[in-house]
Assembly symmetry: D2
Amino acid sequence: MKKIKASIIGATGYAGKELIKILSGHPEVELMFLGSSTYAGKNITEVFPEFINSLNKKLVKPDSACISRDSDLIFTALPHTVSMDIVPELLNKKGIKVIDLSADYRLKDTMVYKEWYKKEHEGINKKLLSQAVYGLPELYLDDIKNASLIANPGCYPTSVILGIAPLLSHHVIEGEGMIIDSKSGVSGAGRKPSLGLHFAECNESFKAYKVLKHNHIPEIEQELSSIYSGENNLEKQKNIKVTFTPHLLPINRGILSTCYLNLKSIKSEEEILGLYQKFYNDSPFVRVFTPPNLPETRFVTDTNYCDIGFAVDKRVGKIKVISVIDNLIKGAAGQAVQNMNIMFGFSETCGLI
Amino acid sequence: MKKIKASIIGATGYAGKELIKILSGHPEVELMFLGSSTYAGKNITEVFPEFINSLNKKLVKPDSACISRDSDLIFTALPHTVSMDIVPELLNKKGIKVIDLSADYRLKDTMVYKEWYKKEHEGINKKLLSQAVYGLPELYLDDIKNASLIANPGCYPTSVILGIAPLLSHHVIEGEGMIIDSKSGVSGAGRKPSLGLHFAECNESFKAYKVLKHNHIPEIEQELSSIYSGENNLEKQKNIKVTFTPHLLPINRGILSTCYLNLKSIKSEEEILGLYQKFYNDSPFVRVFTPPNLPETRFVTDTNYCDIGFAVDKRVGKIKVISVIDNLIKGAAGQAVQNMNIMFGFSETCGLI
Amino acid sequence: MKKIKASIIGATGYAGKELIKILSGHPEVELMFLGSSTYAGKNITEVFPEFINSLNKKLVKPDSACISRDSDLIFTALPHTVSMDIVPELLNKKGIKVIDLSADYRLKDTMVYKEWYKKEHEGINKKLLSQAVYGLPELYLDDIKNASLIANPGCYPTSVILGIAPLLSHHVIEGEGMIIDSKSGVSGAGRKPSLGLHFAECNESFKAYKVLKHNHIPEIEQELSSIYSGENNLEKQKNIKVTFTPHLLPINRGILSTCYLNLKSIKSEEEILGLYQKFYNDSPFVRVFTPPNLPETRFVTDTNYCDIGFAVDKRVGKIKVISVIDNLIKGAAGQAVQNMNIMFGFSETCGLI
Amino acid sequence: MKKIKASIIGATGYAGKELIKILSGHPEVELMFLGSSTYAGKNITEVFPEFINSLNKKLVKPDSACISRDSDLIFTALPHTVSMDIVPELLNKKGIKVIDLSADYRLKDTMVYKEWYKKEHEGINKKLLSQAVYGLPELYLDDIKNASLIANPGCYPTSVILGIAPLLSHHVIEGEGMIIDSKSGVSGAGRKPSLGLHFAECNESFKAYKVLKHNHIPEIEQELSSIYSGENNLEKQKNIKVTFTPHLLPINRGILSTCYLNLKSIKSEEEILGLYQKFYNDSPFVRVFTPPNLPETRFVTDTNYCDIGFAVDKRVGKIKVISVIDNLIKGAAGQAVQNMNIMFGFSETCGLI
């Protein structure tokens, strides 16, 4: 069988690097173009010496027409607001598919996007937005199969939504008062040097950041509202609000989200375990832990797994859900490849661990 | 002026080591005995080579009578339940003072202690418990001045109580629904090797632990109940319950607690800042950050400071309080020395930074 | 084609864990027994939760007869001196092959082994020793093909020998005065907790250890002597002595060896690069860096690569060789699987990256 | 007694920050100006929130005339080649003293400086160079007492020279063939963000860098040549050449240098220990370890100590010397304050630990 031709625009960030790593070992994929405006002209091994011997490829200027011409699929791993205008150019070619790792096509409500990202969807962007599928396979498998444009979920939202979805969809918990305390490794902040990410400034320390305005909040709220209401029509949904605080962990990779949720009534841990297991029965990348076992970020490092554990705190009538992912794999590149596998009819786990 | 004679029992754990470090540089203290059942007979520099040149002292068997005879003050840095029976022996000598870093004399309700620590206070232990003062200087300065026995607070409780006290005592927040998500460096778990604290098992990873039953919960609840009710009589207090989750950070030192608290009504950040500043006006070791600034654990590393920041989240009607300490200093040895300073009439900050 | 049946004795150490990880994804291998005296009876996922979903297998008592009966190949990942007596029992079954990750069958001279490991080879052990092949594929490919017993090289020796071999075999450098300064991540010291490997004792620090007597010294000297002399006959070899110092890096994985070698005469870097490239032309897991590029340990993390770089220091007439490996992969489990691939006629890189 | 007035130019780098920390707690010093071209106008607590409560001071433009007018002593913590022209301006005021933490006044031979730093000393710079004293108190105590301009030693040279000096001055080792393998924490590279110092690029990894051309080489060679020859006259000195390789440790602070030195004849460890002890008898900040004990970087973290250990390797006729310092304290700010103490007649250890 013929391999599909896949290209990456934004190949030299951390998500791009993971995409290269996964795709270059994927049996169904031929890696075509690696686009990078910063490093165009250089060999990828000059940027990432890890690829010596395994990949010999020049980085190219991210020329949309040129890249789309010879690609069946393009991954865009670009900064938010930059992706918005490039995606339509890429989708110009008939039959081509795009998996966008930015936030630009994730939020269904353009007003909400504008509020958090300070840019507006207009014309073709707006039209594409209505066609884009939120690429969380555990929730939207069928939509992903037929999508041309995937809005690949954010890293925090992936960990949070997968942790809460089973409880919320079964109305085991209240929609109100959800508190999410998330912690992420430093690679989540990208590869661009800055004082806050300078080694000696974050090593051996820990802090909260963007405590009121992290732009993953609307994404989490959109999806939880949809799950809670059991429908996608924004106008008919109950508007769920969450309290969310991101923190910076002095490790390279990994997100752990601790979710505090109000139980409608006390349930046994067995009952809740059953509910999770059923919900994720067909999801190869979600592993549910039997209480009192709980996941640690290292269990999922370099894998596409989302590990979920929980504990019922009867003293206070709450359930604590702990959810971990590798922010660059299940939180970015791995999930993107999982979406690719589904879109092209490959095994969902192909090329991923 | 004559120096006081201070001894340490349990000198070779991490809290003991910090006590040695601080006391050996303290202008009012002569370090008498360093007690250690494990290392008795060795020189302290064989256990901690860092002290070569600065301290030349043999570790002794922790013989209570012998140690108390020549001491004005004894710090006990022993495991919980072990301290309980040694403290009375030490206090046998008239006029001697003891600062106990264990949990054994912190919980006023013996039934609660028994429930969480599986041991019962009887006879002299029970009597001493009623005399012990909870050594959090920012709340109990006057009681500490006259105390013979100080129950030095736990590390998590110190960060949590200091973060919440001003809001709770002014009834700016509800007593219900407090959620505390805490993260601690590895030294908090002590110096005894175990698989969970083995370098390659916790480095580059992050996890929650004891998610339902950490024994700092009753300590936090005792103090918050007392603050909320404005009185110490257990029977008249409202019984406050908190949701508390500790996590293990892959760093040596530092605790950051993120507290999610329900505002009774929305207040401006200025108003709340003023409230904090007033509350801690005479507390040299609490630093309140002006929003939107927030503390990071590195700001307090190797110091006795507790740094506190906060953010009012109007969207959800909550206030987030972030509180950081060095778990071995303000969370243990530094606070113990602060208590010593108060008990003996030295400047509260003497020998501490 | 039928898969081979492979078992592991000592499956719950770090090398054992890596073997499980690699073998459970290897297309030619069926994983039979996982032996562990400590954890026999437990499921492997109770020891390593990472394997939930991917491996469901009980650990068994390491009964040699029972394990060898149903295995084509056994990996022994046991402490030094323990392996010595188990290997002969396993080899009792005709046609079975053993790859021993301990040092027990690496040193050809039994007197040298006795001097460094304090135990003597006798009877069958001595006989097997003479048949064992030192499993460094880049040097002994043909011998490995036909071997029944492989002595899998140590981690430090792998990095050092691969770095120096091309220069020594071409007599570009002196055999005298070689100085090797090596640095290893903490996993190299094993999974057994001890104070020296306790997180807070080695995190944020660096030290040298066993500066005079690390038992990888005789292994390095044996192989360098053989390469220098161009023959295996111990009595005809020149006896090469090296100066070797191991250090402990506060990271999980990775070895970097800095080798200081005396050039017989100054050569250009181009000439030396050519020599390395030719030497490793058929070695898929050695990557030679073009000066002035140099490898970093992260380039080989989780891979079976050995990355080598060098610089000619004309000022002092020396060449500096920098060689990096992942101590658990190329330094242990990965190299063992590479040996397996060669012994069973699989592609040398099968199942490895 | 009146305090001296000290100012810092380049107060917002890592060395500057340490200077502030030490000087603000120094009983003999009043901190006058904190100069910073980048942050002039801001309060120091906006750059380093750690100083809230302990220091309330505005950063000023580094105007030489203005700063020197009201200072008795100025520390310049500026980049190499930048300091060269500012120092003469500061020294314009009669009686003022300058401690320069850059390399600009360390190398006595202007041709050597030019070769390694690509800039030339002319006019006043050249004149000042001849008056500058290399500020290593363990070697140049008397010269420092009377100096107006101190060239504060580099971090690597401090660790190396202190480790080797006793052996070299007693001609116990050869002057030829010295090999120095040094490892430094990341703060040594400064506070300016760059990709190589980005957290996720150096965390969990290890590398060598500048393997042929680190500009601390001529500084080490100048001092070792002088010690070996027993005189300062450059023309009469034997020109000693060393092999030096720096490496980057994924920790914040600390340097460990492993020195491989050729013994002229085998000496006992007792004899060599005696020699070290005698050499450093009056040096409060050098601690010599009794074999087989060896220092670790954490032993000196946040202190001005240089810890030295050694091992005689009879097998190869060499001595291995291990020397550790905190690169920001004994390797920069602490040593500068030690020099200040000596220059102004304070106790050498005043304000330092």
